[in-house]
């Protein structure tokens, strides 16, 4: 295989010369290289527990409307103040309209009634469990996304990147993972200092700092090529100026620059809607605003990447869902199961996966929350195995050796 690739490259390109090769040829070379191209997994955490029942709305469920007289999103009527029909039973919150085309294209899957089996309703614990990948176990020191990285001899210094000042729990562990607040800042800002530091660390006899220093400056060099020119997203996409929008733009930039990214992490805060989740109408207000930011950022990312989405999967998660019943202050309290999105070239989408447990009183978890029918590790585990190609799922989710795949990744 590698011989053939090498042959193709040297002979074909030799014939035309670099830069003059016709597009079809570089496409062919690209395709020949395909087996060695890395798959990329982007995880997005919605911190604060998003209200899944108003994100992917079970409008076919009568009980939904009796539980939420003020909050329920109206049945689809093709207006902006109603759910967007997905399959005759579920609908998207209208603020998520930008995601509908992705769903229709078959590249976005939704898993409902999914979450962590741990009963905790503490944000702090539940986020911790979801990021460590070990519900109920606090002693786990590393995160699932770090463990998800396949073992590799030669790996890129930026194979694992999280957007933000510190490395989130999900990203920590044995494998090199870089926290980047902003790609343009990932450098020694003082040009007078940069070369000197590089030389100091490269020549240092301090083996640990020498090694890390070399890696750092390798990563910096990779970034420099990226930093040189302003980023122009593909397909004329304009990313929203939200935190998530800007983070996803940077991830897209990393992906397109082929620097060896394998896993990335971004987050969005503010989903803890105890009070005034909705405004004057159920389809406006706090949650609608948040979902507007969320959906437009994801859609921009998808459109920006275009064909490159073939190798990328994005998965979203939140620590737990919210009460099925609305509370007395036009909001919802901490609940149990929730909804996850997964999209990308390899996703079996256009479909709502998982089993719907129903919203009748006796169907609710502890008589108040959406019952869990899919463990979040089933979803993440499938992505780890079938998308990232890391078969050692037992070490990614210790204590959960046999995730039940739901068929969200095209096998």
């Amino acid at each position: 295989m590698s011989t053939r690739r090498l042959f193709l490259k040297s002979s074909a390109l030799g014939m035309f010369g670099v830069g003059t090769a016709p597009a079809w040829l570089s496409r062919a070379l690209y395709a020949a290289d395909a087996p060695s191209r890395k798959k990329i997994l982007v995880a997005i955490f919605q911190r604060g527990a998003v209200d899944g029942l108003n994100v992917v709305v079970p409008f076919g469920e009568k009980q939904y409307y009796s539980l939420r007289p003020n909050l329920a999103i109206p049945k689809p009527d093709r207006t902006e103040s109603s759910a967007i029909d997905l399959d005759g039973f579920f609908g998207l919150h209208p603020a998520l309209a930008p995601l509908k085309p992705i769903y229709d294209s078959g590249h976005m899957a939704i898993v409902h009634a999914v979450g962590s089996p741990d009963p905790t309703r503490s944000h702090f614990d539940a986020q911790d469990y979801m990021e460590s990948g070990t519900p109920g176990r606090k002693a786990t020191s590393d995160g699932w996304l770090n463990r998800a990285l396949p073992i590799q001899k030669d790996s890129s210094p930026v194979r694992a990147v999280s957007l933000g000042a510190t490395l989130p729990r999900a990203m920590r562990g044995q494998n090199e993972a870089v926290a980047i607040a902003n790609l343009n800042d990932f450098q020694v800002k003082d040009t007078r200092g940069a070369g000197t530091f590089e030389s100091m660390y490269e020549n240092s006899l301090d083996q640990v700092l020498n090694g890390a220093g070399r890696e750092t400056f390798e990563a910096v060099k990779l970034m420099q090529s990226i930093q040189k020119q302003p980023y122009a997203p593909g397909n004329g996409v304009q990313y929203p100026n939200s935190s998530l929008g800007q983070d996803l733009m940077q991830i897209a930039r990393l992906i397109k620059s082929n620097v060896g990214l394998e896993v990335a992490f971004a987050e969005m805060r503010g989903w803890d809607t105890h009070v005034n989740e909705v405004g004057a109408r159920p389809t406006v207000g706090q949650l609608a605003n948040l979902l507007g930011q969320f959906g437009s950022a994801l859609a921009a990312f998808y459109q920006d990447l275009g064909d490159a989405m073939a190798d990328v999967s994005v998965v979203t998660m939140s620590e737990f869902g919210r009460t099925a019943r609305e509370n007395g202050s036009r909001g919802t309290d901490h609940g149990h199961a929730n909804v996850m999105f997964a999209f990308g070239g390899g996703i079996r989408g256009g479909k709502i996966h998982g089993q719907w447990p129903g919203l009748e009183q006796e169907q609710l978890y502890e008589q108040r929350d959406l019952q869990l029918t899919t463990d979040f590790r089933d979803v993440l585990g499938e992505l780890v195995v079938r998308h990232l190609g890391n078969a050692r799922v037992a070490s990614v989710f210790p204590g959960y050796e046999q995730p039940k795949f739901r068929g969200i990744v095209v096998g």
């Binding site: 729990r169 902003n182 530091f197 030389s199 083996q207 640990v208 890390a212 405004g279």
Partner: protein, 567 residues
């Protein structure tokens, strides 16, 4: 990458091979003084080495072990004075810096507004803001706040510059007026850094950091916002050189810990709900919460391999039922609620705790744990990892554990054993530790003799290096291991900080460049307190060959060098 792995393996191999010899290889007299300063303080300041030499190393260490005998630096008191929440009780904090629940109660007239006129004004402002926000949300059409990241950081930088230029008392007022609850982490961060930078009782500050971290709580978990200040002041600081059992007792009783590890909600599953509250109770925890019991053994005392089982965790949790807090959000105190206590007999680590012990059940657990040999070893190991090396020699740990046992857990005595040891003053320990972000930032400030009148920008830097103070979510606290702090983003941030500090680009910190010599090797000696490595010097010389050397640049380069990352 491959090379790196190989070199690390080699290094690890070498370490395993030669540990014994390295830890018996003595240091020179000068190295001993530098080493002691590097480990017992947050880094030497100009003049410290001479002062310790003059006093005699032994005497200096003995003083550091008895901080009450050291006159405190007057510079420190001046800086601590405006940080008023540090002097308050938790209840006063809840009133004067009200959390949302208290604010709501004030709005509805269920709680009186603060008496203090400043605090009252702040609370009224907060209530207005709350109302405005609610109305805005009711409108539903309000654009979500632009969360542009670049914008936020720019704002933060500008804001810090403005604040740095403001008089400390006025600045503190600005912060509290803008968001009262922000004043609490503000005070804690400012105080922690001023103490680390200016206190003459340096070992006490190192120990306070060690023990807070050992018994970690997270300031952003609900009521811990208002409970952390008194926790550090009343539960941790008085005991940093005291008896371990007293420290353990203080943390176990503290509302901050009871809240953080959920014990306040842990009740006996047999509890009969009071009819009046039945509905409300059903919403809350309806049984044991094992969180504290587990961490108490795993992290606070025995260690994960200390010989306890899941059964022990449950038994300990049963003993602790009823240890709760009276109104945590109002800064309430510890109370024991016998109604929810598990009254049955328990067995903890093989020791029978008879039925009917009430509040005393948990005290017995603390006795058992504090005196358990695993605890002596676990605490000794952790101290040795922090103060000696990542892989401390077992013989030293055994001696420390013996002292722990013989003195009934006297922390000062255990530290004496450590500081008297040949292993501490050995090649194996010398420069063996990579500085944590807190140590790096504070040691740079001290080495450059910077004048700090506003410490929050330094705290921001420490957070960006990965150690946000009072904000470690996990009960494990921060690791002191080298591997934790050496990574690409952190190293870059360290280099950038070094250059910025020397160049007076860190708001609130001033470096006087005229204090530094002209010759790079001499500057390096001034900042490192020893000769720079040849590689570092060569790199600096090469860089300076092209232009006029400025001390500012050289100081920045030395502070960002590999040499300065170790202690």
């Amino acid at each position: 990458m491959k090379k790196f792995i190989i070199s690390v393996m080699l290094l690890a191999g070498m370490a395993a091979f030669s540990t014994d010899t390295q830890f018996s290889q003595p240091l020179s007299k000068d190295q001993e003084v530098l080493h002691a300063l590097n480990r017992l303080t947050f880094g030497p300041r100009p003049g410290d080495l001479e002062a310790v030499r003059k006093m005699g190393l032994k005497k200096w260490i003995d003083q550091q072990l008895h901080p009450e005998r050291i006159a405190e630096n007057p510079e420190l008191a001046v800086r601590l004075r405006p940080l008023e929440s540090l002097q308050m009780s938790a209840a006063e904090i809840a009133t004067n810096y009200p959390p949302p629940q208290v604010l709501r109660a004030m709005t509805q007239g269920r709680l009186p507004l603060p008496v203090d006129p400043e605090a009252r004004k702040r609370a009224e402002l907060e209530i207005q803001r709350l109302r405005a926000r609610r109305e805005a949300k009711d409108d539903g059409d309000v654009k979500a706040k632009a969360q542009g990241k670049g914008g936020d950081r720019l704002q933060q930088a500008t804001r810090q510059q403005v604040l740095a230029a403001t008089d400390p008392v006025e600045r503190r007022k600005l912060v509290a007026d803008k968001a009262p609850q922000q004043a609490l982490p503000y005070d804690l961060n400012e105080a922690k850094l001023y103490r680390a930078i200016y206190s003459n009782r340096q070992l006490e500050e190192q120990m306070a950091d060690f023990w807070f971290n050992h018994f970690n709580v997270y300031i952003d978990k609900g009521a811990d916002r208002i409970l952390t200040s008194t926790y550090e002041r009343d539960a941790i600081r008085p005991h940093v050189f005291g008896k371990f059992r007293d420290l353990l007792e203080a943390t176990a009783h503290s509302p901050a810990m009871l809240f953080y590890l959920d014990n306040w909600q842990s009740i006996s599953p047999d509890t009969v709900p009071v009819r009046r509250f039945a509905k409300q109770k059903a919403k809350q925890a309806r049984g044991l919460n094992e969180n504290y019991a587990r961490e108490l053994m795993e992290l606070h005392t025995l260690g994960v391999d200390g010989g306890y089982t899941q059964k022990d965790i449950i038994e300990v949790a049963r003993c602790f039922t009823g240890w709760t807090i009276k109104q945590p959000n109002r800064g309430g105190e510890f109370i024991y609620n016998d109604r929810v206590h598990d009254k049955g007999e328990k067995t903890v680590l093989g020791v029978k705790i008879p039925a009917g012990g009430g509040q005393d059940d948990a005290e017995k657990v603390l006795d058992i744990l504090a005196r358990h040999p695993s605890t002596a070893r676990f605490i000794s190991t952790k101290l040795a990892k922090k103060f000696v090396a990542d892989d401390p020699p077992p013989a030293l740990i055994e001696r420390m554990a013996k002292t722990f046992h013989d003195t009934d857990g006297d922390i000062r005595a255990v530290m004496s054993t450590l500081l008297d040891s040949k292993e501490f003053f050995s090649e194996g320990a010398f420069q063996a530790k990579v500085k944590t972000p807190l140590e790096l930032i504070v040691s740079a400030v001290r080495a450059a003799d910077a004048q700090v009148d506003f410490a929050i920008p330094l705290a921001t830097q420490i957070g960006q290096l990965g150690e946000p103070l009072y904000r470690k979510i996990e009960p494990t606290g921060y690791s002191s291991a080298n591997s934790e702090w050496v990574n690409s983003a952190a190293l870059l941030a360290r280099m950038n900080f070094a250059l910025a500090l020397a160049d007076n680009r860190v708001p609130g910190s001033k470096v006087d460049a005229t204090k530094f010599a002209d010759d790079p090797a001499a500057v390096a000696r001034q900042v490192l307190f020893h000769e720079a490595s040849q590689q570092t010097l060569d790199s600096i010389q090469k860089a300076l060959a092209q232009r006029e050397p400025t001390p500012v640049l050289v100081v920045g380069l030395v502070l960002g060098s590999p040499d300065f990352q170790r202690r």
